[in-house]
């Protein structure tokens, strides 16, 4: 009981404190690849504090939808994070079928961001919104098929139970399928978190931005919320991925592996170029095929 409470407190602390650290790791790795030292480890936290203390400026053409965007996004992702096991094998909260809630909370957050972007009436933001929705629509089936494969393999519909000891027990038989799911989830993570090779988070050209252009008109606390929510999404999807990829590892390993996963994202960003826009569907299609193959293997495993 005490251990459970401690895990819940640790999860909550990680949800609040860890996401900017993941961004810092990505920045550091990218800087090291470029032969620079990079910004300090605390820079994302400082940025958030700076933005939080600023006041926001709103365009007169925008409505409440614009202001609601980052708030709804952060709230949706925060709720989803409560349903995902981060440190322990169980999530803070959970109920049968919560994996669908998590997937749709992600979609809700995205919808809020997109609507806020469309509300500004800027053509660039509209373009970014269109791309975000296009990529999101292609990444979402992959997430669902991957989660469905896990549900078939473990017989659980609760995310916390699905990624917990049941998966560890099933691991020897379904290791190939698990690794396929992990690979598919990695591509989904890169897409959902707007990282290279789908989106370049450091680009300075509105034409090439996807996520950045959508939050272009946000300022102050709302930009802080959008930035934090993007990092939180990395934590959330990264946690699911790590639980699938290394179910046998003890829980401190999974927490330590989160920054390592961020480092891998940094390596991918440093060594890969962004894909041409029309190659992105191929990447996301491959992810869907990986997840589908995993589902096939899992159903085969049940029969054999």
């Amino acid at each position: 009981m005490i251990a459970r409470v401690l895990h819940i407190l640790l999860d909550l602390a990680l949800i609040v404190a860890l996401p900017p650290m993941l961004i810092a790791v990505i920045w550091k790795v990218k800087a090291w690849f470029g032969g620079r030292d990079g910004p300090g480890w605390m820079q994302p936290y400082r940025d958030l504090r700076k933005l939080w203390n600023k006041s926001a400026v709103y365009s007169r053409t925008t409505t409440w939808v614009f202001r609601a965007g980052p708030v709804v996004n952060l709230a949706a992702l925060g709720t989803a994070a409560l349903l995902v096991p981060i440190s322990g094998t169980a999530a803070v909260a959970g109920f049968p079928g919560d994996l669908i809630v998590v997937a749709y909370l992600l979609a809700l957050g995205k919808m809020a961001t997109v609507l806020a972007a469309l509300d500004t009436g800027s053509s660039f933001e509209g373009m970014g919104a269109a791309r975000e929705i296009t990529f999101g629509a292609m990444a979402e089936p992959t997430l669902f098929v991957a989660l469905a494969a896990l549900a078939i393999a473990t017989g659980q519909l609760r995310l916390g139970a699905m990624l917990g000891p049941v998966l560890a027990a099933a691991w020897p038989g379904m290791m190939p399928a698990s690794l396929l799911i992990a690979a598919a989830l990695f591509i989904v993570m890169l897409t959902e978190c707007s990282r290279i090779p789908v989106d370049d988070p450091t680009t300075h050209l509105e034409l090439t931005m996807v996520h950045e252009v959508m939050v272009l008109d946000h300022g102050g606390p709302e930009l802080a919320m959008a930035t934090f929510a993007a990092a939180l999404k990395l934590l959330l999807l990264g946690s699911i991925l790590l639980h699938v990829a290394m179910p046998l590892a003890p829980w401190p390993m999974k927490v330590v592996a989160l920054p390592l996963l961020a480092a891998v994202v940094g390596v991918v960003e440093s060594t890969m170029a962004r894909l041409r826009l029309y190659r992105v569907p191929l990447l996301l299609g491959s992810a869907l095929v990986l997840a589908g193959l995993a589902a096939l293997l899992v159903t085969m495993g049940g029969k054999a």
Binding site: P172, G173, L282, G285, M300, K303
Partner: protein, 221 residues
């Protein structure tokens, strides 16, 4: 990690490389992926023997021959043909990459549906063997019919050959000698086909070279 998991993992890896071959846009990368697929497949007969009991010395011999030929020699010849022949390095698909990936995934699903029910005559080393073999053959055929260049035909042929090789592993417990002979026959046919195809490609280059000779004086030999 036990032997069974390793075999299953290798077969899944082969299926992934099948799908990868459908999406890769560059010839050299595709050939390297094919070499990797052959490398993953090479130890499987040995693993099957180990699963059924003893590992004989000729098992290692066949492993060595397979790796030497399919992982090093054939890819080297193909890469050299690309380099010296100055073939345009991009694969020209008749069916787009995304479409061929979708078709490939569909073929895999069919292979799993059909092959999943197949039972090996002897003791099977993995339930994935039949689906993986069928899927690899189907994707190899898809590569052969949906790509333009002669050299991608060779790649497709070798993928089909790998599929037949996987399928042959189904028989490994019942008649090992036959399977080994089959593998050696595969090697022989592979060399044979390779020689013919490379010769054909050479002839094509000669043709191109004569065109160059007309325009630029002496072309590269």
């Amino acid at each position: 990690m036990d032997l069974q998991t390793a075999i299953d993992g290798a077969l899944v890896m082969v299926l992934l490389l099948d799908l990868g071959l459908l999406t890769l846009g560059r010839l050299a990368t595709a050939i390297k992926a094919l070499a990797l697929q052959c490398l993953v497949l090479a130890p499987l007969p040995l693993a099957a023997e180990a699963m059924h009991g003893s590992v004989g010395g000729h098992g290692w011999l066949i492993l060595g021959a397979t790796i030497g030929l399919k992982v090093f020699l054939i890819p080297w010849v193909l890469l050299r043909a690309i380099r010296t022949g100055e073939i345009h390095r991009e694969i020209e698909p008749l069916v787009g990459f995304t479409a061929s990936l979708a078709i490939g995934a569909g073929l895999l699903a069919v292979a799993f549906a059909v092959g999943g029910g197949m039972r090996a005559p002897g003791l099977s080393i993995s339930p994935l063997l039949a689906p993986a073999g069928l899927g690899t053959v189907a994707i190899g055929l898809l590569i052969m019919i949906s790509r333009v260049k002669a050299i991608t035909q060779v790649v497709g042929y070798l993928v089909v050959e790998n599929g037949v090789y996987i399928f042959g592993l189904l028989l490994v417990g019942r008649m090992p000698a036959l399977v080994e002979m089959g593998i050696l026959l595969d090697l022989f046919v592979a060399v044979f086909i390779m020689a013919i195809v490379v010769h054909h490609i050479r002839r094509t280059f000669d043709h191109i070279d004569t065109h160059l000779l007309g325009g630029n004086g002496e072309a590269s030999s």
